[in-house]
Every structure is written in structure tokens, then in C-alpha cells.
Amino acid sequence: MSVEAAPAFRPRRSGLTRFVSAYGQEIVIACAILILFAVVSLINPRFLGANNLNTIISGNAYIAVAAIGMSMIIITGNIDVSVGALIGVLATISGTLAVAGYPVWVAWGAPILAGAAINAVVGALVAYGKIPSIVVTLGMLSILRGGLVSITGGAWISNLPPDFLLAQQRLLGVPAPVWFMVICTVIAFLWMRYSAFGRSLYAIGGNSEAARAAGIPIERRIVEVFAIHGAIAGVATILFATQLQIIQSTVPPNLELTIITASVIGGVSILGGTGTVIGSTLAAILFSAIGAGLIFVNVSAYWLRAVIGLLILITVLIDMLRRNRETRQASR
């Protein structure tokens, strides 16, 4: 099997062209981030202050981390609309344990294990119950969201022990969430590109019949990838829940859609089979940069979502035009 992230069977070209064509979406987003930083800092130089940069990136790091797992799910041709609710549930589990006086590693480890366990059930329903993932996770969304509020009664968790607040700690002047984001992205990228497991995800999403014929145990793989996605959502939860002194029983509205959007803008095709997690992480950074940028150039933050929506459409349209052109070239 080829180790190219992009479709195989293309004529050999120079290294640079191949790189650009394989990572087109990632390069587009990286350029978008650079242009945005350049424009905003010309208008307001304070934008480039180290403190501001740290805030921009670390506040949204949990979205980038969650988008890593989401990208794996989407690459296999599935989707998870329940991850926002899952993060809410896991945050409450983690906070409750921390307040109850358990050691901090238990409070940090529990959401990772619980996330893996819950999503393994989802994966089993998808793989063995033969229910489309959007239906299972739609149901799961209701179950988790409703379950969370009926158990907590909407109460906030406060009095968190200071050493629990991982997201507020720094290493070498860089906030912990940024470290987590970078390390998780690099590991996931290498693992998906070079390990047999990672390659099999692309194979399942690209052509599941062919993958089955090649001997990939699809059902087991789907359960496993959902469990991994749940564990990564657990890591994202820790970054999300330890930002403030309190944990609310709600998560930002439409969090799941923000995470899916980061994956998709990052170049993960919703049809499965292509994309990398570097793109999704860059997309998450781009979101928070746009949000902060709007404030620094004095545009009302109420327009943020419209700007993001427009950006999604433009990215997707460019991507589709490129894809259509490539298919036409390939079919010639």
C-alpha cells in the first residue's frame, strides 16, 4: 500500500509539487493564518504580543485536540455528533472526582477511560448493530446531554483543587494546552501515516469492500477507533475543564459542530478516506485567530460566526473545485 496521504496512482513529479498537492488544504490554511496575523497586526500591533498569542491558541486547544479524534472518525467514513455532550459529561466526572479529594491523576485519567468506554459502545452499535453512525450519535447526544443535566441538576462544580487546573500551568512559558495540542497532533499524524492501524483507517474510509478483501477486520477497527476518539475527547475534556476555577454543567452550544468543522476545514473529506490531523489543528487555530482578530480590528464579535460560516463555504468550494479538476484530469 502506498504511504501517500493523497490518492495513489499519480504520475511521479518533483518532490515539491507532490508535497503541495498532498498537503494542499493544510498549506491553504497555514497561509490563511499567516495572512490573518499579518493584516490584523498591521492594524493593531498589540495583536502579536506573546501573551495574546498564547491566549488565542491555548483557549481553543481543546477543540484542536478533540478534532484529532473526530478526524479519525470522519476518515473512516463515520461521524460523531455527540462529542460536545460527551465532553460535558466527562468534565463533570473529572471535576466531581477532583472535588471529592481523589488524587489528581485519577481526576485526569477518569475522563480518558470513561470516554473510551462510552464511545466503544457507540462504535459497537455502529459496527455490529449496523446503525449509521449519525443516528447512533444523534441518540447518544440526547442521552448524554439529558443524563448530564438530570444528574447534576445544572449545578456548577466549584472549589476545584489548585493542582487540578492543568490548563493554567505553563512549561517554558508556553501554556500546557498548547503543549498537549502540539504533541497530540504530531503523534496522531505520524501514527496515522505510518502505522498499519492508521493506514487501515484510510483504507476503510476509502473503500470498505476493498479493505475487507485486504483482510482488515472492519468491525473491530471501527469499535477501536471510536474508543480512541473517546479517549482523545477525554484529553480534550481535561484541557477544557481545567481552564477556569469552576466547571459548568453545559458546554459551548454547537461544540460538536465546531469540532466537526475544524476537521472538515482542515481537509478531512466527509466522504472518508482522506485528510490529516495537522489540517484540523491548523483550522482550530484559525478559528480562534479569527475570533481574536475581529476584536483587535474593532469588528463586533457578533459577526464572528458569519465570518466562520463564510470561511467554511469558501474553503469547501475551493476544495471541491480542486477535487473536481483532479478527477477530470485523472479520467482523461
Binding site: 443516528v135 440526547s142 442521552i143 454547537n254
Partner: protein, 314 residues
């Protein structure tokens, strides 16, 4: 064979609805009263209108995640046209409906012209339309509509809530179109095998454009009713409605892959969800517990339905 299968899922669902009604009526004497049932119909209308058209969308193998945002945007535009532009309310309502329809048409154009998967296209417009609603309204609400406007959302005609008549008419028209007309058959053909439909000379793109426009129109109509019912406009109106509507449609037996589904099924799904919400709250279960149950019912119904159809293609 297919008709048998269709019947089977809907029969399971109908049995579930009847069981739920019996159990809930036994739990609380206030549940099975005419007043309560009519009131529940009133609350069901907004999601219902959207879910009925969503059935068409999903039967074509598509999905429309932007309906909640179209609802919010149309509601805000209704307020802006009436209050800020000083237009007569009748005209403002008409323009708000147009805004929603155009938003739906825009979805359809992205999907058909650029071949963007519906999930992605409407995910983008979900953010865009909600963003426009937030940007235009700047978190301000519009209140103080004339009294006649509230008839739509709060009044009654012949003892039945006004909007329930509307829902009934839309449901009948939709059921006839999907079940008995060429348009309906073209919808099924598009969903079961788009390539084959294209080669058979069906104008697939036109069918889709029409359906996504109708979806936008339904969301805008729901917005007008919503504003009339709660007497105010807010930019966060209709957040999450898309998931409620999709849940009702899928619960009603429409295949998320397209090609299969009926309006009757969707209506049964809607009724089951609303009955559970209301009946359980009357029986003292908190509304959040009910949401859990709806999620579980969704997964279990599809699972059971899949077990029965193990011989089938999916």
C-alpha cells in the same frame, strides 16, 4: 416486498405510540385531556413543519443541518423588516418567508452546482445563517407586535390551535406529493440511486433545488409561528431544532442513506417524541430524563428495525 418492509417499521412505531399513550394516560389523569393534547400539538408544530420537509431531504439521501439557523435568521429578519424598516407586518412576514426560501435555495445551489456533500454545505450555512442572525440583531430583540399577529401562534380556529391546522395541511399535502405524485417518485429515485435516476432522464438537480428551497421555506414558516407564539424575536431561536427534526424523521423509519421513508412515519415519530416529553413531565419525570429516553428510543427502534430486516439489503 418493499411495501411490506415500510409497513413493518411503521407498525412497530404505531404500536410504540399507542403503548406510550396508554402508559402515559395511566400515569397522569391530566395527560389524556383534549386541552392538553391540543396544546401539545401547538408545541409540536415548529419542529413538525421542519421535520416533514426534512423527510424529503433525507429521502433524497441528503441532510439539512441549517434549518435551525434559517429559523433564527428568518425570525430576526421578520423583526428587522417590521421594526427597523417600518414595513407593514404582512409584507415583513412575506419577506421573512422569502429570506428562508432563498437561504434554502442557496443550500441547494451549493449542493447541486459544486457537488458539495449536503452535510458539509449545510454545516457551513448553519454557521453562516446563525452568524447573520447574530450580526444583524446585535443581541437585540423585537417585541410589541400587533394583536392579530398572535392569533397564528397563540390563538385558535374552531377550537384547535391555529398552527395545528397549518401543520395538518402541510402534512397532508406533503404525504400526497411524496406518496402519490411524480415528484414524490422522483424524490425516491434520486435517493435510492442518483446515477440511475440521472441516466433515466430525471432532472435530479432540479428536484434537489426545489426540496432544499422547501426546507428553507418550512424553517421560515416555523420562525413566523415561533415569533407569534413567544411574542419576541431572538437570534438564538431554533438552536438545535435540526437535530430534533432529524431524530423525528429517522425514528419514523426514513433511511438516512435515502430512498426510503414516509410522511406518516415522520408524523408518528413526532407524536411519539412529543407524547414522551409531555407525558413524562406530567408523571413527574424531569425533562432532561425525557431527553435521555428519546435518545434511547431512537437507537433501540433502529436497532430492532435492523434486526427484523436482517435479510434486507441494509
Amino acid at each position: 416486498m418493499t411495501i411490506k418492509k415500510l409497513l413493518r417499521h411503521e407498525t412497530i412505531l404505531a404500536v410504540l405510540v399507542v403503548l406510550a399513550l396508554i402508559v402515559l394516560a395511566a400515569q397522569s389523569p391530566r395527560f389524556f385531556t383534549v386541552d392538553n393534547l391540543l396544546n401539545q400539538g401547538r408545541l409540536m408544530t415548529e419542529v413538525g413543519l421542519i421535520a416533514i420537509v426534512m423527510t424529503f431531504v433525507i429521502v433524497t439521501g441528503g441532510i439539512d443541518l441549517s434549518v435551525g439557523s434559517i429559523l433564527g435568521m428568518s425570525a430576526i429578519m421578520l423583526g428587522v423588516f417590521w421594526k427597523n424598516f417600518g414595513l407593514p407586518l404582512e409584507l415583513a412576514i412575506f419577506l421573512a418567508l422569502m429570506v428562508g426560501t432563498l437561504a434554502g435555495l442557496f443550500n441547494g445551489l451549493i449542493i447541486t452546482r459544486f457537488k458539495v456533500p449536503p452535510l458539509i454545505a449545510t454545516l457551513g450555512t448553519l454557521a453562516l445563517y446563525r452568524g447573520i442572525a447574530e450580526g444583524v440583531s446585535q443581541a437585540r430583540s423585537v417585541r410589541g407586535y400587533p394583536d392579530w399577529f398572535y392569533v397564528l401562534g397563540q390563538g385558535q380556529v374552531l377550537g384547535v390551535p391555529t398552527q395545528l391546522w397549518l401543520l395538518g395541511i402541510v402534512a397532508v399535502v406533503a404525504a400526497v406529493i411524496l406518496g402519490m405524485t411524480t415528484w414524490g417518485r422522483m424524490t425516491y429515485a434520486t435517493g435510492s440511486n442518483e446515477t440511475a435516476a440521472r441516466f433515466s432522464g430525471l432532472r435530479v438537480d432540479r428536484v434537489k433545488l426545489l426540496i432544499y428551497s422547501a426546507s428553507g421555506f418550512a424553517a421560515a414558516l416555523a420562525a413566523v409561528i415561533f415569533v407569534s407564539r413567544v411574542s419576541t424575536t431572538r437570534s438564538d431561536m431554533g438552536t438545535g431544532v435540526e437535530l430534533d427534526a432529524i431524530t423525528a424523521v429517522v425514528l419514523g423509519g426514513t433511511s438516512i442513506f435515502g430512498g426510503r421513508g414516509t410522511i406518516i412515519g415522520t408524523l408518528l415519530g413526532l407524536i411519539l417524541i412529543q407524547a414522551l416529553k409531555n407525558g413524562l413531565s406530567l408523571a413527574g419525570v424531569k425533562s432532561d430524563g425525557t431527553i435521555v429516553l428519546i435518545g434511547a428510543v431512537l437507537i433501540l427502534t433502529i436497532l430492532i428495525s435492523n434486526l427484523f430486516h436482517r435479510d434486507g439489503t441494509r
